[in-house]
């Protein structure tokens, strides 16, 4: 589990009161009632936590929790001058 996913899970457990055992990278968003608005809030919180700036909060088209963590990881990589660009 990546630090980013751990950060995401931490927010979902503490602020969204979701049970940790239901939260894996493969968990589909609709299965934990995370809709596009909740994604917007989650990404915003993750930006603060990982010091990145997201260009897509509301219409990002994520399907799983892992997709969100991957997106933040790509932003971190870009910020740090890494190669990964969002495809």
């Amino acid at each position: 589990m990546t630090p980013t996913f751990e950060g995401l899970r931490d927010i979902l457990v503490n602020e969204y009161e979701l049970p940790p055992e239901r939260l894996t990278p493969e968990t589909r968003l609709e299965d934990v009632e995370i809709d596009s608005l909740a994604v917007m809030e989650l990404v915003f919180s993750l930006e603060d936590r990982f010091h990145v700036t997201a260009d897509e909060r509301l219409e990002a088209g994520f399907a799983t929790l892992g997709d969100i963590a991957d997106y933040i990881d790509r932003l971190r990589a870009e910020r740090d001058g890494g190669a990964g660009r969002r495809g």
Binding site: E15, Y16, E17, L18, V32, E33, I34, D35, L37, A38, M40, E41, F44, D48, R57, L58
Partner: protein
């Protein structure tokens, strides 16, 4: 003109988590006024430092029982209350919402402050230097039409979705405007009502500074709001929501709906002299127009659920306005202010009090004005003091809402006749 039936009622308000428990609490003469934020160290410090108002009438409402956490975070308390009241109303109406009906049903909601608490929270953190950014959800939590929007989304309602904000008459206006649409044939079914969640330290501070809030009764906190009494000192803020299903009469009859009552009149006027000060002329005109639109004589009114805030200004003016409209019949009419028990729900007041009026007619029990022990010569009507009056055969009721900003709104309802 079409007739308008009330076929569903939903209420979450001080004293009750649904229509039945709310009305039972009023009939019992129970005050829902209490000390707020007891045991909350943050606000306790605030109170200790600043002094001032810390009483109110909270609704018995735990959002956790109604919304999963992700959704709950996106709804201000005002929207949570509204959505739950709407669920109750639709369930109560036993209305099958097919696709055709869903496309036409409208939502008409009143709120004075909307999601002001969420705006406060977001901006306080930012201005206070605790946060560099403001959460994007602040916008949708705070916007005044969020409660109506969430109701429409939850039930897939695609008719007009409108929010009225005329301070303390907001939900009376919302219900009245929905009534007009059904009456003229533009709508068949509407969800109409109001919601308010003003119990935050900031809101209470502001209202306290306006010298509108009641002082605490030193012997009984719950007796602090004393409408029409000689020793009244102001209003107590309350929170809650009420939503009604309004239905065109024939539509209700065809499906054999249970009818709580008929909405028969709506009157609007404006106090044009002062943004805060009520006038006898303005209040009387709204009442007279409501009765005229109902096509009934002022003598026919058996019960008035008064605006009755408990402020020095309103209660004397309202008494004079009732006398002006009803004339000699004012001696016989039962008038009560249920705000003595549930407090002033601002934008939700009109809806919650119309529910009290409808249920009074249906049950024949008139809820009292509690805390009315010391008479005021300027308030000399029958206010049903202290205890409910049972076994009353009342056919026609009126519910008055008079607002800061000057918008006076009065609704008239009739006890449910049998559906032909």
């Amino acid at each position: 003109m079409k007739r308008v039936a009330v076929t569903g009622i939903g209420v979450v308000a001080p004293g009750g988590h649904d229509a039945e428990s709310f009305f039972a609490s009023l009939v019992a003469g129970r005050s829902a006024v209490r000390r707020l934020w007891e045991g909350d160290p943050g606000t306790a410090v605030l109170q200790a430092k600043e002094g001032g108002a810390s009483i109110g009438a909270p609704a018995p409402f735990d959002a956790r029982a109604h919304f999963p956490a992700p959704r709950r975070k996106l709804l201000d308390r005002v929207s949570q209350l509204a959505v739950v009241a709407a669920r109750q109303a639709l369930e109560d109406a036993s209305l099958e919402l097919d696709d055709d009906l869903r496309r036409t049903v409208g939502v008409f909601l009143g709120t004075a402050l909307g999601g002001a608490a969420s705006a406060d929270e977001g901006y306080a953190a930012f201005y206070g230097g605790r946060a560099d950014r403001i959460h994007p959800s602040t916008v949708l939590l705070a916007m005044s039409n969020a409660p109506a929007g969430w109701i429409a989304i939850e039930h897939g309602l695609a008719g007009p979705c409108l929010t009225y904000s005329t301070a303390c008459s907001s939900s009376a206006v919302a219900i009245g405007e929905a009534w007009l649409r059904i009456r003229c044939g533009a709508s068949t079914v509407a969800l109409a009502g109001g919601a308010e969640a003003p119990l935050t330290p900031g809101t209470l501070k502001a209202w306290d500074a306006l010298q509108a809030l009641a002082g605490e009764d030193p012997e009984d906190l719950g007796a602090s709001c004393k409408p029409f009494a000689g020793d009244r000192t102001g209003l107590v803020l309350g929170e809650g929501a009420a939503v009604l299903v309004l239905e065109e009469w024939e539509h209700a009859a065809r499906r054999g709906a249970r009818v709580h009552g008929e909405l028969v009149g709506y009157g609007l006027s404006t106090d044009r002299e002062h943004i805060l000060r009520p006038t006898v002329e303005g209040q009387a005109r709204a009442m007279a127009l409501a009765l005229a639109s109902a096509g009934v004589s002022p003598r026919a009114v058996g019960y008035i659920n008064a605006h009755g805030t408990g402020t020095r200004a309103n209660d004397a003016v309202e008494t004079a306005a009732i006398r002006r409209v009803l004339g000699a019949a004012a001696e016989r009419v039962a008038v009560s202010s249920t705000k003595s028990m549930h407090g002033h729900l601002l934008g939700a007041a009109g809806a919650v009090e119309l529910v009290a009026t409808l249920l009074a007619l249906r049950t024949g029990v008139i809820p009292p004005t509690i805390n009315l022990r010391v008479p005021d010569p300027a308030c000399d009507l029958d206010y049903v003091p202290l205890a409910a009056r049972r076994g009353q055969d009342v056919e026609l009721g009126m519910s008055s809402s008079f607002a800061f900003g000057g918008t006076n709104a009065v609704l008239v309802c009739r006890r449910a006749p049998r559906l032909a």
